[in-house]
């Protein structure tokens, strides 16, 4: 589980130094495996403007660009990108910079007899996206005044990699980690309630969980968001995902990933217009096929939990979605899924098909069944905020209603097992901070 201290502070009020945090995390059983500064050296990457381009004298596809890198300095850079043109604002890496994608260090080099001083970078080379067809294009309205300034916003937050033991699925989200820290006396948990969806709009896609033996889906919550305009994510969201080493894709996908990491609630977004009539959650039949979002074709056995429509399989519940109903930049209507799948069923299917995803990792360890609505609320509002649109009522289908677990806890057992005493009063404080409701 990868987190940053900055992200933790979304949920935790604290002014302690980072080394104290690392100590505390390991102390409470969330072992810090490694710590890494993703931004080291990135301040070298500057916003720059191409002032002149000429054809390379010895190569047809290369251009020699005069680049304004600020401070009235013009550098000659050889560039092969088709979109390198006069007036373009882009990202310049000087000699000595290390390219994030392949970790190579730039040096001054002669390319076919022309000396190139540095490099203009594509988004893919900067690990910002998969875009590698040309160099980064920055919008003039935002960056015209930033020529010569660092492209990456400085972040002092290190990437902290935690090793979470299988008994702690609650700590597979930043919120859960913050809660654990606060119970251990490190900071105070922020408890602002997320807004709840209040809508009169009807949810027009019918969802049905079939009643059959070994049904792997116990409940399926969803809402429709209509008339959205999917776009690139805003900077804060991109920065969040990049800070933990993930690549931003599009606002809708980024939001579902963000909510999963933030509150440990896996979600899936479908393009509602690509779903034929309604959703049917059922067991697969041997021989059924579908193409998953990892671009692989899977052939299913009997009894795997699938999300399907009239035409066939859309995705493997809680494991991976399919390409047929995936959201794209032109997606207009979104069906947001927030469901609960049985860990055994997830584990069996994923093992058979040899798929490992973040969602599968969480579902097989156990997800909070009561987070279905929280996830829908949080993600739907973010989508509305970023992509516009209208949110429908929430629909929750279930084949089994959730019962709160009651744990009998005898305070004396604590001393008997551990050999030391803490007061019952203190125990109550800790348990309540962990979110338990206590009854005598």
């Amino acid at each position: 589980m990868k987190i940053t201290y900055d992200w933790l502070k979304d949920h935790l009020k604290t002014s302690a130094k980072e080394d104290k945090l690392l100590e505390k995390l390991t102390d409470i059983g969330l072992e810090v495996e490694s710590i890494e500064n993703l931004f080291e050296g990135l301040d070298l990457f500057k916003v720059a403007k191409i002032v002149k381009t000429e054809k390379h004298p010895n190569a047809d596809r290369l251009k020699v660009c005069d680049v304004d890198v600020g401070n009235k300095e013009i550098k000659k850079v050889v560039c092969g990108a088709p979109n390198a043109r006069e007036g373009l604002l882009t990202v310049y890496a000087p000699p000595g910079a290390i390219i994030p994608k392949n970790k190579t260090k730039l040096v001054v080099a002669k390319i076919r007899d022309v000396t190139s001083c540095g490099m203009l970078c594509s988004e893919s080379e900067l690990n910002l996206s998969d875009e590698s067809d040309g160099i980064t294009e920055l919008s003039p309205s935002k960056y015209a005044k930033s020529i010569g300034k660092s492209y990456f916003s400085k972040s002092s937050s290190n990437l902290i990699d935690l090793s979470i033991t299988p008994n702690r699925p609650d700590c597979l989200g930043v919120l859960g980690i913050a809660r654990d820290l606060s119970a251990a006396g490190f900071g105070k948990l922020k408890t602002e309630k997320d807004k709840k969806i209040k809508s009169n709009k009807k949810h027009t896609l019918k969802v049905k969980i079939t009643k059959e033996k070994n049904q792997g889906c116990l409940s399926f919550g969803s809402c429709l968001i209509t008339n959205v305009k999917n776009t690139e994510s805003p900077q804060w969201l991109k920065d969040k995902l990049i800070s933990i080493g993930q690549k931003p894709i599009s606002a809708i996908v980024d939001i579902t990933n963000y909510v999963m990491i933030d509150i440990n609630r896996p979600l899936h977004a479908y393009d509602a217009d690509k779903i034929d009539k309604g959703i049917i959650v059922r067991n697969s039949k041997s021989g059924e096929k579908f193409t998953a979002l990892d671009n692989k074709n899977y052939k299913l056995d009997d009894g795997m939990c699938v999300i399907s429509d009239n035409k066939g399989v859309l995705g493997l519940g809680g494991i991976i979605g399919g390409t047929r109903s995936g959201t794209e930049l032109d997606t207009k209507n979104v069906l947001l899924e927030s469901a609960y799948f049985d860990p055994r069923s997830i584990r069996k299917t994923a093992k058979k098909l040899n798929i490992d995803t973040d969602a599968k990792f969480r579902f097989e360890r156990g997800i909070d069944q009561l987070s279905i609505e929280d996830g829908l609320n949080k993600a739907a509002f973010l989508i509305k905020e970023i992509c516009g649109g209208e949110i429908s009522k929430i629909d929750i289908q279930k084949i089994e209603s959730y019962k709160n677990k009651v744990i009998k806890f005898e305070p004396k057992t604590f001393e008997k097992i551990t050999g030391f005493r803490i007061s019952t009063k203190e125990m109550i404080i800790i348990l309540e901070k962990l979110g338990f409701k206590l009854k005598k």
Binding site: T165, P343, I417, T418
Partner: protein, 355 residues
């Protein structure tokens, strides 16, 4: 009478010649064998008339004694001669170098097991053993690791059959189960042995060694666990003080569970145990899960206690400055000679564990 005299004269002259031991033995048989000349005369005593019998017998005995004495002295004379001859001819060259000989060495892992056993037996643990080939129940199910538990992912197990019922044990913990099923509480045991996981790199070998510890009684708590491990680590590394931390962790068979780290630092390229600000994980432990006790018919409301599992190879590497785990299993004679131990040096707490 003359007959006896004849025999006597005849053989005395024979014996007076220069004859060999074999010949003497032949003569002995000829005279005193079952049907020997003298023996047959003795048999005749009964058939001789009363008047002559006494004289005959006395003469016969006289001749017998004479001949026997002669034979005995002749034999010792010849043997004496032989020994003298041998002594004359044999000389020892005390300037010769001794013959070359090779001694075996005790492997560092075996030495470490001996050291560990010695330390724990001092504080009342007895040593138990279990088989390397285990059944699935003892290795997983009885230890509270159900079928679908993700903890089974942590072990990549060598299964020996299609049904995944027989396997090479992935830890020494099944010995806990065997011991508790066999006897009645209290238990206070350690179980060193080989364990197997499908994993291989510089710090993981597919076969490695663990020692299991188990102490179950009516009142054993985590404090006892801490004290016991602290004592063990100090004794093992032969240091006065040790920096040690218990870090919460998770194992299906203990609750609560902890991993134990010891402090170390690197000074002049050497690792120094017990001080410094770096941490090194050396073992896993915890209070035995009530489900495990139930599985072995021990009442968890009456009995409780701790268990731990220590990687022996890791300890041996640390104590004896061995860098690569794989060297343990290379069987390189030169390596064994360098890192091995004298077989006559049995580790004990009073005489010192290692020299």
């Amino acid at each position: 009478m003359s007959e006896i005299k004849n025999i006597r004269d005849q053989f005395i002259s024979k014996l007076e010649n220069d004859i060999s031991i074999d010949q003497i033995n032949e003569i002995k048989t000829e005279l005193f064998g079952k049907n020997g000349l003298i023996s047959s005369k003795f048999k005749k005593i009964g058939s001789i008339p009363d008047t002559d019998r006494k004289k005959f017998a006395s003469d016969l005995n006289q001749v017998k004694d004479e001949l026997q004495n002669l034979i005995t002295s002749k034999i010792s004379e010849i043997e004496g001669k032989k020994i003298n001859e041998k002594l004359e001819n044999e000389k020892v060259d005390i300037t010769l170098p001794e013959r070359p000989f090779v001694t075996g060495k005790v492997h560092p892992v075996s030495q470490t097991i001996d050291e560990i056993s010695s330390i724990f037996s001092e504080i009342g643990f007895s040593v138990e053993e279990g088989p390397d080939v285990e059944n699935e129940y003892n290795n997983f199910t009885a230890l509270n690791t159900p079928d679908n538990h993700p903890a089974r992912d942590m072990h990549d197990t060598f299964y020996l059959d299609e049904n995944k019922e027989v396997l090479l044990r992935t830890h020494t913990s099944p010995v806990q189960i065997r011991t508790m099923l066999k006897d009645k509480p209290p238990f206070k045991i350690i179980a060193p042995g080989r364990t197997y996981r499908s994993d291989s790199d510089q710090t993981h070998a597919p076969m490695f060694h663990q020692v299991e510890g188990l102490h179950i009684d009516t009142n054993i708590n985590m404090g006892h666990l801490k004290g016991c491990l602290n004592y063990f680590i100090k004794e093992f590394f032969e240091v006065e003080k040790i920096k040690m931390r218990f870090r919460p962790s998770h194992f299906p068979f203990t609750e609560p569970s902890a991993e134990v780290d010891i402090g170390y630092e690197i000074k002049d390229g050497k690792i120094i145990i017990g001080e410094g600000d770096k941490w090194l994980e050396i073992l896993g432990c915890g209070m035995v899960h009530p489900n495990v006790l139930r599985n072995v018919k021990v009442d968890p409301s009456k009995y409780q206690g701790y268990a731990f599992g220590i990687g022996i190879d890791r300890l041996a590497m640390l104590k004896y400055g061995i860098n690569d785990l794989r060297a343990f299993f290379d069987c390189d004679y030169r390596w064994l000679n360098h890192f091995g131990f004298d077989p006559l040096d049995v580790p004990s707490n009073y005489r010192g564990l290692s020299r």
